[in-house]
């Protein structure tokens, strides 16, 4: 924390020439965005938090479940060990979404965006590069986390003959699907951040769209509420994170497809604005 002593300056600065060829390519911008993501402690902390919420959520839920294990055939049949292992996913959506928003808005808050766009004046590769870097980091971290949560939980439940395996119908889909949904939420956050260019606004808007809409739909009369809810972003993606199928929902892949469609529409809008707006 001590103020740094300034290194001495050479009397006559010498900046040698650089003759090697230069050219901006999409893959190079992806590499640059990957460097940015991994070199910023704040994004690494959010990534780690997301991982810990998923993995830790499974562990804690399994330990709590031990104190009230189901008895009787009906209760055992209703017991969902996969759901239990993934109980941290809903909470991890918050950190995943915030991570996505901050990756984009951090550039605007610090003025970094102007340097970034001076280096990549065609602009759009920056958006694709950020999406690729964030998607890769999230898929790796969240797949590891959901698998860890799943196996830890099943190991704890196994002595009580309540565990399941990835081979059971719908289980693998829920475990890997949860990682996909978390990645999707992070990307929706990134796109929201690109639209609003401000961290507070971006996070509020993202959570408003994800949770606010769902809560607001609850005020509608019963049947209508049910009908509207299944098309909302949070609810449409929810089925992919569970083995069971909520009655009247769109189903795991149709629902997630709709979620991706929402994200794609927002992405299109943010790409259009990134090209047009002053940086």
């Amino acid at each position: 924390m001590n103020p740094m002593t300034e290194p001495a300056l050479s009397a006559a600065p010498v900046v040698p020439a650089y003759r090697a060829a230069q050219r901006v390519t999409l893959i190079r911008v992806v590499r640059s965005e990957w460097t940015k993501l991994r070199s910023l402690p704040s994004t690494l902390w959010l990534l780690l938090s997301t991982f810990l919420l998923v993995a830790g959520g499974g562990l804690v839920s399994a330990i709590v479940a031990l104190s009230s294990l189901p008895h009787g055939a009906a209760a055992v049949a209703a017991f969902d060990p996969t759901q239990l292992s993934l109980s941290g996913v809903a909470l991890a959506e918050l950190t995943a979404g915030a991570l996505g928003v901050l990756i984009m808005t951090g550039e605007y808050a610090t003025g970094q965006i102007r340097l970034t766009l001076t280096a990549v004046p065609r602009r759009l590769p920056v958006l694709w590069g950020k999406i690729a870097a964030l998607a890769a980091a999230m898929l790796a971290a969240c797949t590891t986390a959901t698998l860890a949560a799943f196996f830890i939980t099943q190991a704890i439940l196994a002595p009580h003959h309540l565990s399941t395996t990835l081979a059971q119908p719908g289980v693998a889909r829920a475990v890997f699907g949860s990682a996909l949904v978390l990645t999707g939420v992070a990307l929706l956050g990134l796109v929201t951040g690109a639209l609003l260019r401000n961290a507070a606004g971006g996070i509020s808007a993202l959570f408003g769209v994800l949770y606010g809409l769902t809560i607001a739909a609850g005020f509608l009369p019963g049947n209508l509420s049910h009908e509207v809810r299944k098309y909302l972003p949070e609810n449409s993606a929810a089925d992919l994170t569970s083995v069971g199928h909520t009655a009247g929902s769109l189903g795991p892949w149709t629902g997630f497809g709709l979620f991706c469609l929402y994200t794609a529409v927002a992405l299109g809008a943010s790409a259009w604005l990134l090209r047009r707006r002053d940086a």
């Binding site: 103020p3 740094m4 300034e6 290194p7 001495a8 300056l9 050479s10 009397a11 006559a12 600065p13 010498v14 900046v15 040698p16 020439a17 650089y18 003759r19 090697a20 060829a21 230069q22 050219r23 901006v24 390519t25 190079r28 911008v29 590499r31 640059s32 965005e33 460097t35 940015k36 070199s39 910023l40 402690p41 704040s42 951090g106 550039e107 610090t110 003025g111 970094q112 102007r114 340097l115 970034t116 766009l117 001076t118 280096a119 990549v120 004046p121 065609r122 047009r276 002053d278 940086a279």
Partner: protein, 320 residues
Amino acid sequence: MIEVRGLTKKYGDKLAVDGLTFTVRPGIVTGFLGPNGAGKSTTMRMILGLDAPTTGTATVNGRPYREYTAPLHEAGALLEARPAHPGRSAYHHLLAIAQTSGIRRSRVDEVMDAVGLREAGRRRAGRFSLGMGQRLSIATALLGDPQTVILDEPLNGLDTEGIRWVRSLLRSLAAEGKTVFVSSHLMNEMSVTAEHLIVIGRGRLIADTAIADFIARASHPAVRVRATDPQALAAALRGPGVTISAGPGGELTVTGLSTDQVGTAARTAGLTVLELAAQTASLEEAFTAMTQDAVEYRTPAAGAGPSQKTSQKTTEGAQR
């Protein structure tokens, strides 16, 4: 080479940049001078394709900057007070920018060495002093060995040694044949750094001139004189092309006459001269007076009349 033609930027109904036309030539340091809020930064952002002009064009080395596929080799820019994301190390900041164009890691080390940031390279940019931050910004600007260098207030926050260092850097870049375009709101700073000056006020071009011409035109010599009877002295000095203004304590400021002429006239009138001195207006004063005209020109815009015409002439006169 930077070519700006009829560049205009409107924010709402406020004109930030108003019909600027100028050329920044390679091989010399060109100063971009104007008071704060004159539109310097906006102009620089438009040159770099960051802000879209309302009308007009700006090209770097012959083409709009946004069209380049190797942009860092065309232009290097220092734009913000904050040099990098405060949470990222200087090394990773430079590396991320270098990677977009496929610039090698060895080049990142090279520019960090050149600005003396080798040891501090792994520390977070947020902990840098103002001076070190400016050096990181300069390293960023020079990463791609650009033909054109665009620096917005690069001397801000630097100590004397740092200022001297940046000056010698700018001169050596110009000597290599690069185009060097540097903004500042301080005239004195530019008078020792730049060879050519582009002066703007309220978004309009006020002067586009070699620094030597600017200095010659700006320094109107005046004579400060105090004598036993100021009224009588003023009467004795009056003549064509002579202006006299009275100051406190009977002091007169006279233009259009030399100290010799004033002294002789006083003796002829039988007055005792108590104080007599030649006075040269500072460049800073000349610059303030010049940009003041631009300010006056805009303020009474509602009542467009003959008075506006006069001050417009003043600005054009300054433009040559």
